[in-house]
């Protein structure tokens, strides 16, 4: 070719363009795989333009093809579709633009898609991204929950409504993203990054409703899986229906079956927690009350023991002792008095027996002079003297008359 260029000998643009076109033209025909990011069929234009995006890296190349290549029967060329293109790299010198000139387009079949996902899964698993040891525990009752989900989606409503019902104090930081199509993975990654940077967000939920395997494809995106693995905040995924498994489910800290299930996982049920706490409180209280009752009964029983309840009993025995002793003393004394009385009676009887009264009773009499002296002889008294004759019935005054006495005393 021509020699090196210099300021004195520059190439004209056409030379450069031609040389680049020649260089690119030498690349020949290649097979390329990617995802349709944009598709434009302008009116009746003979050429269809589409943007082919890389499955993992954020880059794309423009692809052009003849209308009949794009419209081949059996090929459903839509945005988001995975395709394999047979193309020739082409430099359009009039504009200096590069594109792949496609001569054949094939859709990547479902089986092929799944096999591809499986290959990525093995790759990431080998890297340890899905290891159980990497799983972080979810906070018990997070104050703020980040949600990455489609705008106005049922998934969002399921998560928010269910979580609020379970735990009314919950707050959400919601990031709406695309959940379908070639830009969905990047959109979800952006949401994740934003929420992960927010220090108030304690857990992030990635939620999307059910869909076809193709619809859910962004959630098996290698870049998204790596983004979730890199999150500092625990991530819960709830993508598709229970039976759908996407790669994000493997890398998530918790995989929820559905958005509603995710709500169950991220917040405890407040009523249940209240009942639990109430139950524990009641048990604790019951234990204390029981213990207290036992002790109260014990104290009552001790206080009702006779030695404590009726301290008078302390005196009882002793009072009885005193009473008994007094009784004995009294009885002893009484006994003595009575026996003295009996002695007296006897003495009295004896005195009575010795008394002259009995003799008088028998008819004898005692004669006494006025001075009380006894008259023992008739001569001891003078005639006319007054004497007192004592008989049993009492004293009898008499006067002495010896004359009568002499006659009677005669022979």
């Amino acid at each position: 070719m021509t020699g090196p260029t210099s300021p004195e000998a520059p190439w004209p643009v056409r030379t450069v363009a031609r040389k680049i076109a020649e260089y690119i033209g030498r690349l020949g025909e290649i097979w390329v795989e990617g995802q349709v990011a944009q598709l434009s069929r302008r009116g009746g234009a003979a050429t269809v333009f589409l943007t082919l995006r890389d499955a993992a890296a954020d880059l794309s190349v423009p692809v052009t093809c003849a209308r009949d290549v794009a419209d081949r029967p059996g090929l459903e060329l839509t945005e988001g579709a995975r395709i394999i293109v047979r193309a020739r790299p082409d430099y359009y010198i009039a504009r200096g633009s590069f594109s792949l000139r496609a001569t054949e387009i094939r859709a990547v079949g479902l089986g092929e898609l799944l096999a591809r996902i499986e290959r990525i899964r093995r790759l990431l698993a080998a890297e340890g991204l899905f290891d159980a040891a990497r799983k972080r525990p979810l906070p018990f009752a997070p104050a703020v929950v980040g949600v990455v989900t489609g705008r106005d989606s049922a998934a969002e409503r399921d998560v928010v409504v269910t979580a609020r019902r379970r735990w009314p104090a919950i707050r959400f930081e919601i990031h709406h993203c695309l959940v379908q199509g070639p830009s969905a993975a990047a959109s979800v990654i952006e949401g994740l990054h934003r929420l992960d940077r927010d220090p108030t967000v304690e857990v992030i939920v990635v939620a999307r409703g059910g869909g076809s395997v193709e619809d859910l494809l962004p959630f098996s995106d290698e870049g998204l899986v790596r983004a979730i693995a890199a999150c500092r905040t625990p991530v819960v995924t709830a993508v598709g229906h229970e039976t759908d498994t996407t790669l994000v489910d493997h890398v998530a800290d918790v995989r929820a079956a559905t958005p509603t299930d995710a709500a169950h996982r991220i917040v405890p049920e407040i009523g249940e927690q209240r009942r639990l706490v109430e139950g524990l409180r009641a048990s604790a209280r019951h234990l204390l009350v029981t213990r207290l009752e036992q002790q109260t009964r014990w104290l009552e029983s001790v206080r009702s023991r006779p030695v404590l309840a009726t301290p008078e009993r302390l005196l009882h025995g002793r009072e009885e002792d005193v009473t008994a002793l007094r009784g004995r003393a009294r009885r002893t004394l009484t006994h003595r008095v009575e026996s003295a009385e009996r002695d007296l009676e006897h003495a009295r009887a004896r005195v009575a027996a010795l008394s002259p009264a009995a003799t008088l009773q028998r008819g004898y009499a005692v004669v006494q002079r006025a001075d009380g002296s006894l008259v023992r002889h008739p001569d001891a008294v003078a005639d006319g003297e007054r004497l007192s004759v004592r008989v049993a019935g009492g004293p009898l005054p008499v006067r002495v008359d010896h004359s009568g006495n002499q006659e009677e005393d005669g022979p």
């Binding site: 009641a282 209280r285 002790q295 001790v302």
Partner: protein
């Protein structure tokens, strides 16, 4: 006869001593003066036990569930 006589005595200490006092009183063989002194001690201990139990009950009722903020 007040619990302040033994402010540092715990319920368990008071209870144990009370049981001992009752045991001695029931065993008998004491002088009147000793019995009375023991009985007075027993009364004081019983009051003290009662005091602790009343206090416990008060504290329980203060912490009653209806007093809990919702």
């Amino acid at each position: 006869m007040t619990e302040s006589a033994e402010p540092t005595t715990t319920y368990e200490q008071a209870r144990e001593e009370l049981a001992e006092v009752v045991r001695k009183l029931e065993a008998g063989g004491l002088t009147l003066e000793e019995s009375l002194a023991l009985w007075e001690r027993g009364e004081a201990l019983a009051e003290l036990c009662q005091h602790w139990l009343d206090r416990a009950r008060e504290r329980l009722s203060v912490a009653a569930p209806q007093n809990q903020p919702e």
